[in-house]
Amino acid sequence: MSAETHTGSKSVMTPFNIVAGIIIAAGLVVTVLRFTGGLGAVTNLDDNNPWGIWIGFDLLCGVALAAGGYTTSAACYIFGLKRYHSAVRPAILTAFLGYALVVFALHYDVGRPWRLPYPIFVQQGYTSLLFEVGLCVFLYLTVLFLEFLPVPFEWLKKTKVRNILVKATLALTIFGVVLSTLHQSSLGALYTIAPSKLHPLWYSAYLPVFFFVSSIAAGLSMVIFEGTLSHKYLHRMMDQEYQRHHDVVVLGFARACSFVLFGYFMIKVIGVAYDNTWHYLATGYGTWFLIEMLVFVALPCFLYAVGARDKNTKLIKWTAVLTVLGIVFNRFNISLIAYNYHLPSSERYFPHIMEIIISVFIVTIGVVIFRFISTRMPIFYEHPLYKSDH
């Protein structure tokens, strides 16, 4: 048997590997079906509902939740909060993987994936907000790749190249924030073209601003959430520097996130006032909207504040989970639930099981690659050769 792997004595048949293996196998089967039978063979999409969870979850949520990359690196390198330095690498790695997987997921959703470079290199539709999204994601993925490169170079001990890249950190960070601002907001702006299709409580000329501000909350919460998971499962990889700073990062991010959520709540209220859509609050969609605003925005805003005041990291970690769910809830509302609200329920969309399999498949790939990299390369610890020269 080929049970011997490079990990040596450890067996490959761990529960994690078995579950991940099953999901990946199922994903590969659906992949074959998708590229032999078309979108119709594996999705419930139709002419009224052209975008399903592959856009609503893989793209909209994926990009929002990968916002930890630009928020953390901006906090550390631009705002000069050096005590967050230990959180930068995991955040950059997550963002890079997140965006790479967003692009990967798009290959399933678009009709002719090999033409994805067309809008940039063949014929530019620069009146389109999707063009802005595409261009920014393409450029930002490049920036994230360059920001991540020092890690493998440290791992391979290529000091010269590594040092050149480290010198470019500030420029890359600023470029990254510009690109993130643009495409986080333009994802919301995608929907500004369809006022008659998106429910008035969610439709707003401020959609780009809403998406941008909520992405900051998403990014900060994801760093806390994922730091917690890593702490639990990758503890052995962390050096004292990382562990000493972990609670500082959690408390600081919780305080920041509380402020951001408060600001987000305020501009959402202003949005309702500006469009004068108060009367919709008394309808069924209004209740749904209030749940989003009160349970997933106002409540985490309050809990983060309490958690930061009492230095209650446990509360903060649960609040991060709530906030992350809230972002997913919001993106689903806009792309799926409040979109096409005028259609009768028989013509509405509900994802096919195979669409869900692909989404889970893609998340699993992300976790597997994250584990692979963070257990081998200097993510949660500083490489002994390059200690404290930042």
Binding site: F35, G37, G38, L39, G40, T43, L45, D46, D47, N48, P50, W51, A74, Y77, I78, F79, G80, V110, G111, R112, P113, R115, L116, Y118, P119, I120, V122, Q123, Q124, G125, Y126, T127, S128, L129, L130, E132, G134, L135, L139, I174, F175, V177, V178, T181, L182, S185, S186, A189, L190, Y191, T192, I193, A194, P195, S196, K197, A205, L207, P208, H342
Partner: protein, 359 residues
């Protein structure tokens, strides 16, 4: 149009932009190509015979449906266009004696949402009024379907590798040959009228004016979404025959604000963020300087104090040493004196003794 070029600024970020040579209109608003064509659909004349559907199918080489076109039972169900049908007729029971029929196809907006939304410019508003589609660049992202308020573009969902967007193109090529669109030619009741858009609007107004009570006073498509090349008149409210109020703002206007923000962010963000960085750097530098100075001061102060203490101690030590020396000296002198005195005394006694011995 200026706003269409806003993203052109992104070219600075390393993208070569082939400027679209055609300046469409002088002003900011585009009201369609002069002399472009339009079709008027009159819902009061349509009898739901589906001849237009058959005509469309024929001129576009689309597959024939399972049920023949003269089977009118299909009208009992609400239908929509799909990748095999560019136009369909629906029947609406509006509580009158007779049902109302309405034909549905692409409305060929003057400023099409699909064209504005497409990130490879696969859609084009042609000077003759048609909105055409070029499958050779289409990526299949389906954003046009999200953007279109009339839910017109459809997609070949069962095509594995070469799916296309499908929709009515107002028989663009037939028009170039001087022919009527297939549906217009097939209509036996003159429910469809083809002509240049300005004339068509005049005809529609004239019908409304000269037939009091027959029509409602609204030409759907005159202003909807900034105006369309397909226009509708009806005897009942349009929302009763499945035509939603989609507003009069054109698609490019809806997204203009978001696009206009792009150059602002590109221009201002680096300055702002660079500024924040510089302020922090400066603060750090000043803080470091102050710290250094404070340390220096503290060291100096301590040194001074130490020196003072030392000198004090030294003086004290000196004093005490002096005192001790003085004491010693005094003691020595005293002792010496004493010794002398004693000596003197002893000498006296000696002489006494001597005297006594001598006596």
């Amino acid at each position: 149009m200026q706003r269409r070029r806003f993203l052109g600024l992104m070219g600075a970020a390393g993208v070569s932009l082939a400027a679209s040579g055609k300046a469409k209109a002088a002003g900011k608003e585009f009201h369609g190509y002069p002399g472009s064509n339009a079709v008027l659909f009159d819902a009061t004349r349509c009898i739901g015979c589906r001849e237009c559907e058959a005509g469309c199918q024929k001129v576009n080489d689309l597959p024939m449906p399972e049920k023949p076109f003269d089977d009118l039972t299909v009208l009992d169900q609400k239908r929509r266009t799909n990748s095999d049908n560019f136009t369909i007729v629906n029947k609406y029971d509006v509580g009158r004696e007779k049902p109302v029929f309405r034909k549905f196809q692409c409305n060929h907006c003057l400023e099409p949402a699909c064209a504005s939304a497409c990130f490879v410019r696969a859609f084009k508003k042609e000077p003759n009024g048609s909105v055409t589609y070029d499958a050779s660049v289409c990526v299949g992202c389906r954003y046009c379907m999200i953007a279109c308020p009339f839910e017109v573009p459809t997609y070949e969902y069962h095509e594995a590798l070469t799916p296309r967007i499908r929709k009515c193109h107002m028989c663009y090529e037939r028009q170039l040959e001087g022919k009527l669109p297939g549906c217009v030619q097939a209509c036996p009741k003159e429910a469809l009228t083809f002509g240049d858009r300005d004339t068509i609007i005049k005809i529609a107004r004239e019908r409304i004016r000269t037939n009091p009570g027959k029509y409602i006073d609204h030409i759907y498509g005159e202003h909807e979404m900034g105006g369309t090349s397909w226009l509708y008149v009806s005897g009942v409210q349009f929302d009763q025959i499945g035509m939603r109020d989609v507003g009069t703002t054109s698609a490019p206007e809806l997204t203009a604000g978001a696009l206009a923000a792009v150059p602002v962010v590109v221009g201002l963000w680096p300055v702002l963020l660079g500024g924040i960085w510089a302020v922090n750097k400066r603060k750090e530098k000043i803080a470091a300087q102050e710290r250094e100075e404070a340390v220096k001061n503290a060291v100096a102060e301590t040194q001074e104090k130490a020196q003072q203490k030392m000198s004090e101690a030294l003086t004290k030590a000196e004093e005490s040493a002096q005192r001790r020396i003085d004491n010693e000296v005094k003691k020595a002198v005293d002792e010496a004196l004493k010794a002398k005195e004693e000596e003197a005394k002893g000498e006296g006694e000696d002489s006494k003794q001597d005297e006594g011995e001598g006596a």
